[in-house]
Each structure stands twice: as C-alpha cells, then as structure tokens.
C-alpha cells in the first residue's frame, strides 16, 4: 500500500465536499422552514376567511337585533340569550316538536341505510351469483340519477298509498337501499377484506348470513361508522323531500321550520332565526368533530362527495 499525496488530496477534497453539502443542507432547511411558516400564515388566513361566516352566524345569534347588521365584530356588546329562548317558541309549534321529528326521521333513516345497503354491498362484494355484474352496473347507474327525475312518479305513488304527510316516504326508501352511494362505499370497503376469511368461515360451518354477521360486519365497523355519519348528516339536512311530503307543521323537520322564519321576514326576528340556525347545525358539527377521521377516510376510499 502506498500512502501518497493523491490520497491526502482526495481526503481533503472529500472533506470539502462534505462541508459544502452540509451548508447546502442547512440552507435548504432554512428555506424550507421559511416556506413552512409562509404556508402556515397563508393557510391560517384562508381558515379565518372560511370560518368567518360561521362565527358571524354564531355571534349574531347572541346579538341584540340592532347590532346584527352594520357591525363586523364577532363580540356582542351584550349576550342576548333571549334569541334562543324566544326563537325556540317563535313558531306556531315549539322547536322541541321539530327536533323530535327530525330525530325520528334521521334515526330510522340511518338504521335503514345501514341495514339495507350493507346487505346489498355484501352480496355485491362477497357473494358469487348469476347477474352480479349486471346488477352492479345498474346500481352504479342509479348513483347518477337526479332525485328530481324520480320525484314526480314517486310523489304520485306515495300519494296513492296515502303516505303523504307521514314519515313513510322519507324513511321507507332508505330501508330499500335507495341511496346507492352507501352501497358503493361499503362495497369498496368489503372488497379489501381478504377472501380467505369468508372461506375459512365457510369451512368453519358458517352460512352466508353468519359470515356477514360474525365476520364482515365486525371487521367493517369503520365503514359502517362512515356510512352512519354521512347518512345522519345528509338526512338531518335534507330539505327537498320533507318539503314535498310534509305539509302539516306538526310533522315538520328542523330545516322546514327554519324556512318558516324566512316566510315571516319583515318581522325582524333575525336574532332568533340565527339562533335556531346555529342550533340546527350543532348536531352536524358535533358529529363532524367526533368522527372527523372516519369522514375523511370515507371520502378517500369512496372517492366521492
């Protein structure tokens, strides 16, 4: 072995190179940190703009009537809880009735959606049967059908059945898996479970129903949770169907009741209207905060909504 000048030179060069690389890295880190800070500032501004209307709504619901307009501040000069107490009874029926109605419709609809859609999804995702791809294609097509197209015949149908002004037109379709989106969501999830589980269960003496109940459902709790939350929020916010099918104020859901405030416009009950609007959003926001992760993942797996 010969230790020569070239070896030494090489060592020095390498040292130099390492130093330069280190400096570059430091510079890049610095740039990245600055970039990150800028990004955060920008995103925080966007977040504020996004949330401002919601906070304004919240703030206005506590403000005295004369303060709602003409002021951008989010802090009421005095908190007017009256808006809530009066708003609750401002309509011919109290909001207790509307909330109970909404809860009934929403609760039944969520159950209906979960049961019927998971049934269909299980068949599509896990069972082999003649006509599967045909029916699956049909199901996917129903995804795009606008509600307005089936609305009129459905209305005539339900009218003839004497169901108008009951909750049946709102609830029964959900027990018939009318919202194909949830079938699609669950199919996507069920398909990810290993096929061998069903097969092992078959050999372990399970009927198709037992496989659904003891294997697929317990392993699909995240998907069922996502479906439950979406369906809860959408049914809660649903406006068109209740608008058409519910005529008697006694059976109104919350969104219909809110609309009544608009019809009384001019009587300047903005504070009360805002207070009730805030209340109507509360369940949605609570569920969103609690189940945010499920919702985000649900959208990512289904690629929709």
């Amino acid at each position: 072995m010969k230790t020569s000048a070239t070896d030494l030179e090489l060592a020095i060069q390498m040292d130099e190179a390492a130093r330069v690389a280190h400096e570059l890295r430091l510079k890049r880190d610095r740039q990245e940190r600055n970039g990150r800070i800028l990004k955060h500032i920008f995103l925080i501004i966007v977040s504020c703009v996004m949330l401002y209307p919601l906070f304004w709504l919240l703030a206005s619901s506590f403000k005295p009537e004369n303060e709602i307009f003409g002021s951008l501040t989010l802090w009421p000069s005095e908190f007017q809880f009256e808006n809530y107490t009066k708003g609750w009874y401002a309509l011919p029926m109290s909001f207790t009735v509307f909330y109970v109605n909404s809860a009934i419709v929403t609760g039944l609809s969520v159950i209906g959606n979960l049961v019927s859609c998971s049934f269909a999804a299980y068949a599509f995702a896990r069972l082999n049967f003649t006509g599967r791809s045909f029916f699956f294609a049909l199901m996917m097509m129903t995804l795009m059908i606008p509600y307005h197209v089936v609305l009129i015949p459905q209305y005539v149908q339900f009218l003839n059945l004497g169901w108008v002004d009951t909750y049946l037109p709102l609830v029964v379709p959900r027990f018939l898996a009318s919202d194909a989106f949830f079938i699609f969501l669950m199919v996507q999830f069920f398909r990810q479970l290993p096929r061998e589980l069903d097969e092992a269960a078959m050999i372990d003496g399970c009927s198709p129903f037992k496989i659904y109940w003891a294997i697929i459902l317990p392993l699909s709790l995240p998907a069922m949770g996502t479906a439950a939350i979406f369906s809860l929020i959408w049914v809660w916010e649903d406006f068109l169907a209740p608008l058409i099918y519910l005529n008697d104020i006694k059976s109104y859901t919350v969104p219909l009741a809110l609309r009544l405030f608009l019809d009384q416009e001019g009587q300047s009950a903005y504070g009360q209207m805002f207070a009730m609007s805030v209340l109507s959003l509360v369940p949605v926001v609570i569920f969103f905060v609690l189940f945010q992760k499920l919702i985000v993942r649900g959208i990512a797996t289904s690629g929709m909504k």
Binding site: E199, A200, A201, M202, I203, D204, G205, C206, I215, P218
Partner: protein
Amino acid sequence: MAGLTLRNVGKRYGALSIIQGLNLGIHDGEFLVLVGPSGCGKSTLLRMIAGLEDISEGTISIGGKVVNDLPASKRELSMVFQSYALYPHMSVRKNLAFGLQNFKVSRSEVERRVAEAARILQIEQLMDRKPRQLSGGQKQRVAIGRSIVREPQLFLFDEPLSNLDAELRVQMRAELASLYARLGTTMIYVTHDQVEAMTMASRIVVLRGGKIEQLGTPQDLYTRPQNLFVAGFIGSPKINMLQAKATREAGRTVVSVAGMPDFAIAELPTGDQALTLCVRPSSLRVGSGDVTGEGTIRLVEYLGSETLLHIALSSGQVLLVSDNGRTSYRMGDPVTIGFDLPDLHYFDSTGQRIEPIQKESQAQ
C-alpha cells in the same frame, strides 16, 4: 378419517380449462402432496375438494360419499390457508372455538378440544391475544390449531409454510410431520416446494397444466421419474439433461452424446431415435465411472457439505456435478467426468421414460 376418490374431475372458467379429466384415489390416512409449478391447478383442485370452488365435471367423493353438491361446511374437513385467514377481531381462543360453536359442539367439549390443541401446538400462553399480536410462526400454529380442534376426516393445507422464513419453515415442516404421525388423519397438502413434498409425503402428485404427470412415493419420483417434466421438477440441484442419439445394433443399443464417447446399453424398446439422457448431479463423479469424458471446470460453488461444479464438455454443454470429495478445484481446471450406466434415465422424443429391455446384462 376417510379416503378420497376423484373421478374424471374437471374445472373450467368459461372457455378456460384449469383441470381436465383427473382421476385420483387417496388412501385413508395418507399424506398426499400436490406439487407443481404455479398455475398448474393444484390450489384449484384443493379448493374443489374443500367445496370452495364448483366442480365443473366429474365427481369427488370423501369416504365413499359423493360431495359435489355438499357445501364446504358439510364435508367434515378443515383447511389451513396460505395467509392463515385467522379472524382478526377474535382472540386466539375464539378463533379456535368459532367453528366448533357453529357445529353446536357442547361447551365442555369445546373447552376440552381447544385446550388439547393449545397444548399440542404449545400456544397456551397466546390464547387471549389477537392475531395481529402474533408472529408469523405463531399465526401458523393457531391456524393449524383451528383445523385440528374440528377433528375432521380430512385435513387440507394450501401452501401453509410459504409465508414463513426459511428457518421457521424447516421447523414447522418437522412439526407438521410429527402432527401427522400423531393424528394419522388423511391430509392433502399443496405446495410448490419440492423439498416440502419430498420430506412429508406418503405419496406425491406432480401436476402440470391441470393434468397428473406422475403419482408415486417420493422415492418413485426421484429414482424413476416417468417423464422429463418430473425428472426436471423433482431433485435439487436440478437434473442434467443431454441430447443423445440411440442406434440399435445386434441386441444392444449404442448411445451417442456430443462431448462424450459412445457407449452401449441393453436394447431400448424404441429402436433408432433421438432421446434425452438425464443424470442427477449426485450421480456424476469427477475422475471415474462406467463412461468417462473430458471437460473443463467453469464455476465452483462451495456449499460446505458438497461442492457444485459446473463442468463444460468439449461440446460446450455444461453439466452440474455435486461432489462431496475433499479435493479443491479451481476454475479452468481440466477434469475427467464420469457416470455409471444404472444411474441414467432415458426419455423418448415425447418426453416419456423408456427402459432398457434387459437391465441386468448391461453391467460389464
């Protein structure tokens, strides 16, 4: 326990035929291994026996009863899957008991059998864990446990060891063999690993393209492969194949191979023709033999217990020689390479085995 009979069994997916007209009898208490390259239909066949795939043609009977239309759960068999297929949301104990509960076995009996299986497989300390808290080998034990608590007539294994690392695989192989010795139940085992097949099987079925290439004991397959495919598939390192020419000459056949001197053997039944000559690396020797030729060492692979030599004949063909001598070899060395006539296998141009007519008269 039960034997199994497959009569003219076939499987088609639309126009695609996976298995054709397969006949097979499996004895009661036998350890039968289905082996073959991927796509040969071995897993499909196992799944048909299990009741996980429809049978397109023919009949499968277990213990003398045709099971074609019986669902998997009524066939009194159990299966170990390649992925183990443990129920992720159940503890080990529940995984073991789940099937028994479905079959309405009494609670005390379930407990007894689960405890027994846990003891045999040494998983007693794992009973309350979930599958995701287990190592690969532990999952494997649980999967086997799940199938033995059922006390089935028939065990099915679908490449159960292929997800394990090499060391664990050897260990589990031995355990499976001793489990078989203990239970004596009929077992059907699918693998693509010929070592697993050779070490565990009572008999082996070599499958290719949905057809049986050969059925026999491990010794049969190794010493008397019925065709070129089996000769090439069984045995590691792989058998040497040489193109040869047979010429009939007054009661004997002269075989000529490029790069080796011609040699005479007892008469082959087929007369003059091209044939393929096979000889296992372990049957080739450096230095001596009934027939010897000259070659050059191209590559030396030292494996400890043996040394693999890649030796090129003057024809350019490279032969693999397994040498367990102490001599050290170097690349480029010229060597003499030889074999004994009884160690040769002959295959005709269609790849079927042919035997010299009078075997005893050929040794000189």
